[in-house]
């Protein structure tokens, strides 16, 4: 029944995490808070009139939705003092007092790596996320992310596809899925990993909750890999929190002209590890994980690249070039250039970016 007091106390108005921990330190258990006298409560730092009123009148009906939700076999609520509560998360300054979990509890205590990034990544960024997620999963790390669109989703999906577990930290109550288009992804994650949240059942997607959940993403993980981020983004908040929590931050660099790489470059300037392969991450982690090298990707070719093809290929770089620019550079006719570009694309040598241009891939 102790859990009910935890949940009840967390629902108290004007009672944030700091006050919660202050009260917990004074009373040792949430149950004591409800049993204590008015004077003791004030001594413990509970000054607010509304909070004190609430403590007098609170009853179990207030947390009934949470308790109902808990009836499901795959649903769990872990308090800070629970033995399953992930040790890694306890080490941060303000760990969530309770964690709502749908899925496998055990995976929370496994070594994890966070992959975060833009909600609107470039094609290359998306591919990087997928590739790193796949390779890190294969080396036994669990991929943790925030189930947002873009990089987050890519990371989750790739981890699932490579048969590994993955953890999604949600910014809403676990009875809701945000964004809604990730419903099936969320379902898959509960079967093959865990969805977790610190927010009680029924919490709607409120913008201010999302930066808060970011500390859990970085807190659960040994390190945080930033794939693509603009300077002002939630991803940068996660990276900052990771640093505060004393975790490693990894960043994948890109062209200096790529606006989506500005955040990564900024992080590298501040001391994040420049990451160009999975080994860069593995080298920093304090664990003897199996080093299994992945088979090289084989390209299936539709048609061999000929001399003109190489001429076009030589003019391309990792920065997007439009067809018109390539026509000028190669001095070939437009039709020849477009044909060669398509052939190179089929051979997986280049890709068309949304920037209406073509770039080399790897």
């Amino acid at each position: 029944m102790d859990l009910v007091y935890w949940l009840l106390l967390l629902k108290a108005p004007y009672l944030g995490i700091k006050t919660f921990y202050k009260a917990l330190k004074y009373f040792e258990s949430p149950q004591q808070v409800f049993l204590a006298s008015h004077i003791d409560r004030v001594k413990a730092g509970l000054f607010r009139k509304q909070t004190l009123e609430y403590l007098k009148s609170a009853d179990v009906n207030l947390v009934q939705t949470d308790l109902d939700w808990l009836q499901d076999d795959r649903c769990h609520i872990l308090t800070l003092i629970d033995k399953h509560y992930p040790a890694q998360l306890k080490t941060i300054a303000d760990p969530p007092p309770v964690l709502y979990i749908r899925g496998d509890i055990a995976c929370l205590s496994q070594p994890q790596i966070a992959i975060v990034g833009s909600r609107n990544p470039s094609t290359g960024g998306g591919q990087n996320a997928a590739q790193f997620a796949t390779e890190l999963s294969k080396r036994g790390l669990i991929i943790t992310s925030g189930m947002a669109s873009g990089i987050d989703a890519k990371a989750h999906i790739s981890a699932l596809e490579s048969g590994a577990q993955t953890i999604a930290v949600c910014g809403t109550g676990l009875d809701r899925i945000y964004p809604a288009k990730h419903k099936s992804l969320a379902h898959q994650i509960t079967l093959q990993g865990a969805l977790i949240s610190e927010f009680s059942i029924g919490t709607a997607p409120i913008a201010s909750n999302f930066p808060r959940r970011n500390r859990i993403i970085s807190g659960l993980s040994l390190g945080t890999l930033v794939v693509e981020a603009t300077i002002k983004s939630g991803t940068m908040i996660t990276a900052k929190l990771a640093v505060e929590q004393g975790r490693d931050v990894f960043a994948i660099p890109s062209s200096i002209h790529n606006p989506l790489a500005e955040g990564c470059h900024d992080l590298i300037k501040q001391g994040a590890k420049l990451t160009s392969s999975v080994d860069d991450i593995i080298a920093e982690l304090p664990l003897g994980l199996l080093d299994c090298t992945l088979p090289k990707k084989t390209s299936q070719s539709t048609k061999e690249i000929d001399k003109t093809g190489f001429k076009v290929l030589k003019c391309l770089s990792y920065e997007a070039l439009t067809v018109d620019q390539l026509v000028e550079k190669t001095q070939l006719s437009t039709q020849v250039v477009t044909q060669e570009l398509l052939l190179l694309e089929f051979n997986n040598r280049i890709e068309k970016t949304s920037a209406q241009g073509y770039v080399l891939i790897k």
Binding site: D324, V327, T334, K352, Q356
Partner: protein, 510 residues
């Protein structure tokens, strides 16, 4: 003039011919005027609408002011066929003439049945211009009738060069002609058919890819969607498409002029042979696009018949407005049905659409200006429905032109529209010789029988379709465009390079 005795009183009857206007048709209307004894009165029967009902007041004054008399007695004007609704002031002149002949004030010296009369009368007897006359001129010419028309209309009507038209300035002049006192001169102006394009491809810097795509689209009549950031030159490119299209032939030009005449739009003689370019704003209604009204008028798609319909900011058009284009895009004509009449307008146009890649317009321009979310972008692109997209053969990304290219001096070697037009015309002729129509107009059966791929190329196309996740519907479109590219290359069979280039124009996402 006929005089008959009926029941003891003198009954006078006359017949004069003119034509109504229903859509692009101009059915003959016989105007019979009967003057009988009885209380004085003037009635018009045969479904006259507003302007025609008021005709009697204009006719009365015009007759008086031309020093004729309004006959005493009961005047009945019948416009036959009785079930055809008639509107506009064009019946004034024939009604006035009918009254004059029936009352014996003028005696025709010519065979009145060989003539048709048109024109709205002013109270002073002057003839005013009337709209939509060109279809009547064309139809009258087919029946080898001569036409008497208002002088103000004659410039437009001489477009039908063979027709015998006689412009007149006022009622008296027409009466003098009929009675043989005076003559009406056939106008001798030769319209200046100097086809001059003020928009030329030589003005477009860079954009080789887009120019190539437009050349292909022009050659095969393919529908095209241009996608690019604001200022990348989509509109500039599309506006220059007519300059590389072959001129209209005489018959098509005349038909186009007839459509304009019905829509009451004047047509510049210097534009007579140039294919039309219509660019309706995205606030246009569905009726404005396809045509309509209680007496149906042609809409933008018919005004673009034989030419280009350019829809700028395509996703901003309301969906139901875009959906009405689907049927005309397939059939090349549009049936407008209204309670009183059903009309068919030709609408064989080439659709060119332009759109931004995302709501703010700057997605993927290489800067960080765009803040649209993935959802917003996909929602924006979904605004173009699948069925409409299926009717678009070529999709082209137009990248923004770099500052260096924009500021560079005009390159003398840039191809001008005239050079491109020669190639396009050549390609047109190849297609017409082979199949009697443009590649775009081939139906599914014709594509299967006329466009044959080698086994290797078939395999290539299948591989690519899998790799790019192209729908089976895209298959025919690719084949048609590949056929056009091969035609531009003077090749009888489609080679792999033609096919590959065609595939490059068939990708919507990514």
């Amino acid at each position: 003039m006929e005089l008959r005795r009926i029941g003891g009183s003198v009954s006078q009857l006359s017949k004069v011919f003119t034509r109504a206007s229903t859509g692009l048709d101009a059915p003959v209307v016989t105007i019979e005027v009967h003057i009988s004894g009885g209380l004085p009165g003037f009635s018009i029967v045969g479904l006259p609408e507003g302007a025609v009902r008021e005709s009697k007041d204009r006719v009365r004054s015009a007759l008086m002011n031309s020093r004729f008399k309004l006959p005493k007695g009961r005047i009945t004007v019948s416009l036959a066929p009785a079930n055809l609704p008639k509107s506009s002031g064009r019946y004034d002149l024939p009604i006035a003439l009918g009254v004059l002949i029936a009352s014996g004030q003028i005696k025709p010296d010519i065979d009145i049945a060989q003539f048709e009369f048109y024109g709205e009368l002013g109270l002073d007897g002057l003839l005013h211009s009337t709209e939509g006359l060109l279809p009547a001129v064309i139809a009258a010419h087919k029946d080898s009738h001569d036409l008497v028309i208002p002088y103000d209309n004659h410039e437009q009507c001489v477009l039908a060069q063979e027709a015998r038209i006689l412009p007149a300035k006022n009622l008296l002049q027409v009466c003098e002609f009929i009675t043989g006192i005076g003559t009406l001169e056939r106008p001798m102006i030769q319209p200046d058919f100097d086809t001059k394009h003020d928009k030329n491809f030589s003005q477009v810097k860079g954009q080789y890819h887009a120019k190539r795509a437009l050349e292909i689209a022009a050659s095969g009549g393919h529908n095209l969607l241009l996608r690019g950031t604001p200022g990348s030159g989509k509109t500039m490119l599309a506006e220059r498409l007519p300059s590389i299209l072959p001129s209209l032939d005489n018959e098509a030009a005349l038909q186009r002029a007839a459509i304009y005449s019905v829509a009451n739009k004047s047509i510049d003689l210097s534009q007579f042979y140039i294919r039309p370019f219509r660019s309706p704003h995205h606030s246009s209604s569905a009726v404005a696009l396809v045509g309509g009204g209680s007496s149906p008028r042609p809409g933008e798609i018919s005004l673009a018949h034989g030419g280009v319909l350019f829809l700028d900011e395509l996703p901003e058009f309301p969906r139901h407005v875009l959906e009405v284009l689907r049927q005309p895009l397939e059939s090349g004509e549009v049936h407008v049905s209204r309670a009183q009449q059903q009309v068919t307008f030709p609408a064989n146009f080439q659709l060119v659409g332009a759109m931004n890649p995302c709501p703010c317009g700057y997605y993927g321009d290489g800067t960080s200006k765009c803040h649209c979310t993935e959802d917003q972008i996909s929602k924006y692109q979904m605004k173009i429905s699948g069925p409409l997209l299926d009717r678009i053969d070529m999709i082209l990304d137009v990248p923004p032109v770099s500052k260096e290219v924009l500021l560079s001096p005009q390159d003398k070697t840039t191809e001008n529209s005239e050079t491109i037009r020669v190639r396009v015309l050549d390609c047109y002729n190849r297609q017409l010789k082979r199949q009697g129509k443009l590649n775009d107009q081939l139906d599914a059966n014709e594509v299967d029988s006329l466009i044959i791929l080698s086994a290797d190329n078939k395999q290539l196309l299948e591989n690519v379709m899998d790799q790019l996740h192209l729908s089976a519907r895209a298959y025919h479109r690719i084949l048609k465009v590949a056929r056009t590219i091969a035609d531009l290359d003077h090749a009888d069979t489609i080679e792999s390079q033609h096919l590959i280039e065609a595939i490059g124009y068939r990708r919507y996402n990514g």
